[in-house]
Symmetry: C2
């Protein structure tokens, strides 16, 4: 992740004459599909965070979740603008992806405040890993949109602090949250496969970005490694 | 509203030497209380909008409400920063105002999508009128924070369009929504009085800003006039 595709003399993040052509050109039809999935992902994350805040034992926790949710909406606006520039109507474009993303959230509805926090931290991270891997192979103007909307939404310090504190003094909670983390990863990968099956152009984009199908398996393996690192940050290892 | 207290030669919005002293100096203890009420108002509006979105018949409506809610959080951050600069811990400061603001929302829980939209538009407006009237008499650095957090959160075009369309073809809906608007104003004024009764310094600030107690009555009258104008924009007259 984060490997520069441009030569070292190039300004970072800028397309350069003579730079190697990206694996996925900016006008690939899968790009609009990618933006649409990301956009619906932001909306569904917004409402999930807002709903999950009911588990918060404190006003501070409710504020932290509301701030994370608000950041998702600013990312949504970025995607809205990017889709408009491509002449794509965002609401129609998002429609095919609602089912899989809603299913992910329905299958990972938290039942405690700790599960809420772990999901907010780890679930976001899984999605970010997947899209950032792909971003490396996209045209720079497309990659910059993807990276912008996957940037840290902040407040992870709050989550890390709250979760570590609980996990360090309760082995039972630790065991439960480790299982929870595994379930989040499993469901995310399942639903990612449904999303890819939903649209041929999107699937082609991911295959092009990965190199070939066997590389997609390697991509999922790397996501597992990143997931384990993130769990470890929360004291879940 | 919006009357300039600084002389016409002054840069608008800037404190000038020789400008008349504001009725409420920046170090009045009621200022922190005012920021705290506003801050809790943003949080409670965020969660109310997120919850009310379940009535939306369309994804577009859900996005509109999520965007309004997100704007509330950016205002919250402004108030958080302003309170920190005054050495005030925001969570403790908000606590006394939770009850009255939660009571306002509990007493005005919408039961239809149209009620949601009218409340988002009219309820926000009532609060903005009240605080903007006060802002005119505050020290400029305080007034600018108040005005910033009461700025239009956008998306009112969406609301106006949706409500007018329904109201123009259904006299029954129009009648119901006119009653709903009246109830929103009544509950807002009731709860505003509870808020003022909650804290002496805040009450003093409002009295200073209004001139005297009889002017508070005049202020509530002007709010009623502004409310009627806003209802009229929605086709509710």
């Amino acid at each position: 992740m984060g490997a520069e595709t441009s030569p070292s003399t190039a300004e970072p993040g800028r397309a350069q004459e003579g730079a190697p052509a990206p694996a996925v050109p900016a006008d690939h039809p899968g790009v609009s599909e990618l933006f649409a999935v990301l956009a619906y992902g932001e909306i569904s994350a917004f409402y999930r965070l807002a709903e999950d805040a009911r588990f918060s034992p404190s006003l501070r926790g409710r504020v932290a979740l509301a701030s994370m949710a608000a950041a998702e909406m600013s990312h949504f606006e970025t995607l809205h603008t990017a889709l408009e520039a491509r002449g794509v109507e965002i609401y129609a474009a998002m429609e095919p992806y609602r089912k899989a993303l809603d299913a992910y959230h329905a299958s990972t509805t938290p039942s405690t405040w700790m599960e809420v926090l772990v999901k907010a931290f780890v679930g976001d991270g899984i999605a970010a890993d997947f899209y950032c891997e792909i971003a490396d192979m996209l045209a720079p103007e497309v990659a910059s949109v993807v990276r912008e909307v996957l940037a840290e939404t902040g407040h992870s310090e709050f989550v890390v602090h709250e979760v570590r504190e609980v996990v360090e003094r309760s082995p039972l909670q630790k065991d439960r949250l480790m299982l929870w983390g595994r379930r989040l990863l499993g469901e995310a990968i399942t639903q990612a496969q449904y999303v890819l099956a939903q649209n041929e152009e999107l699937a082609e984009l991911v295959i092009l970005a990965s190199g070939d199908l066997s590389n997609i398996a390697a991509l999922f393996d790397r996501m597992q490694v990143e997931h384990a690192k993130r769990m470890s940050v929360l004291g879940l290892h």
